[in-house]
């Protein structure tokens, strides 16, 4: 991920608490499944960034974070990519 990515973490979190999923080209619900399966292994406060190309993620990732009570800090689109930042609760 380049520094110009909207997800470049300005966060001071240690590396071990920052996680990233490249879900480009995957169709829903695969990006959600990837996020869900990784988050299961993370600790509260960890940050997951995810980039996807399926516009369905704009609905599904926020919806999934709401039903599981995680904090979706960012959901944004650049060109044909959708970027998310989730704080694990």
């Amino acid at each position: 991920m380049s520094d110009s990515s909207p997800l470049h973490p300005a966060s001071t979190l240690p590396e071990t608490q920052r996680h990233h999923i490249d879900a480009r080209r995957l169709l829903c619900p695969m990006p959600v499944i990837k996020a869900q399966d990784l988050i299961k292994t993370l600790q509260p406060g960890d940050v997951l960034t995810l980039v996807a190309t399926d516009p369905g993620t704009l609905q599904d990732i926020p919806s999934w974070t709401r039903v599981h009570g995680h904090n979706l800090e960012l959901a944004t689109q650049t060109n044909d990519e959708y970027h998310f930042r989730i704080i694990v609760r």
């Binding site: 169709l27 829903c28 619900p29 959600v32 190309t53 399926d54 516009p55 369905g56 609905q59 039903v67």
Partner: protein
Amino acid sequence: MAEQKRAVALISGGLDSMLAAKVILDQGIHVEGVNFFTGFCVEGHTHAIRKKKQQSPKRNNALWVAEQLGIKLHIVDVIEEYKDVLLNPKHGYGQNLNPCLDCKIFMVKKAQAWSFMQDNGFDFIITGEVIGQRPKSQRKETMPIIARQSGVEDRLLRPLCAKHLPLTLPEREGWIDREKLFDFHGRNRKPQIALALQLGFTDWSQPAGGCCFLTDEQYSNKLVDLWQARGSREYELDDIMLLKVGRHIRPQPHYKLIVGREEGENKYLEGYKGTFISIKTTSHMGPLALIDGAPTPQDIEFACQIVGRYSQGRNATELVYEVRFPDGDTKPITTTALAIDALDPNWHV
């Protein structure tokens, strides 16, 4: 205070499983949903691929249902395990390649396996099945088969038709009040709609024909064609996703074309340029096409002409095509477009 009982609900995203979960939630049970992704599910994908369908919501209905109900939903990737269900169904297929009864048994069994893996486990499983709803899988005779062959036995509760079925453990133990369950049967959807309104729902999804592409005749034909062409019934997720996209044209047994029908599909097919030979007209606007198989150079030229037929240069005397190979090499080809009547309708898969 008695410990709150916990149920896993199979959530497809349709109305019935939404109602089943709601009815049980309303009896004070802790409910969480599971949704199994087989790769054939109708959810989202085609909406996401085809721009044309953008007026319909791109939401994942199972997640949307979970939000309406205020429950957690776990989406489980069962693509690999599902292959055996599809390829070797003990109870056979429905009208097309849908192995509904085996699929139900598999999903209930998986729901149980999933529930064992969670902290505290779950006490029972609920589904939105209704007797007589589906001619093959949802009949009075199949209900006990699913309960038995999944190994879940009397921990499987179908709230919408429970009154037609023997008592289950949650009813016997008094966790659930059987009087508040239902006796729906048959294909008439009116009772479900009335219940939905009574429970305060104003929106729900009702996919026509079932919850997956395997009930679709055209899709099933494409899958059979793929297996025949490969001489094997193996498949990967990309194979079955590509069957949902584009026109599939097989001029010869050893290769077929997948021609994008609109911008969204062209874009989706772009992602496969590193896997398949692709063709695009450069002299005129036109679709992107992939060639699946082992075409000869003559086949590639003929494939170009087919692609030209779907381009804006279909009436031009000469078109320029770019053929791109998976390793990135490209080759320009100048030829005509196939005449309208030269495309054998039998080539359409």
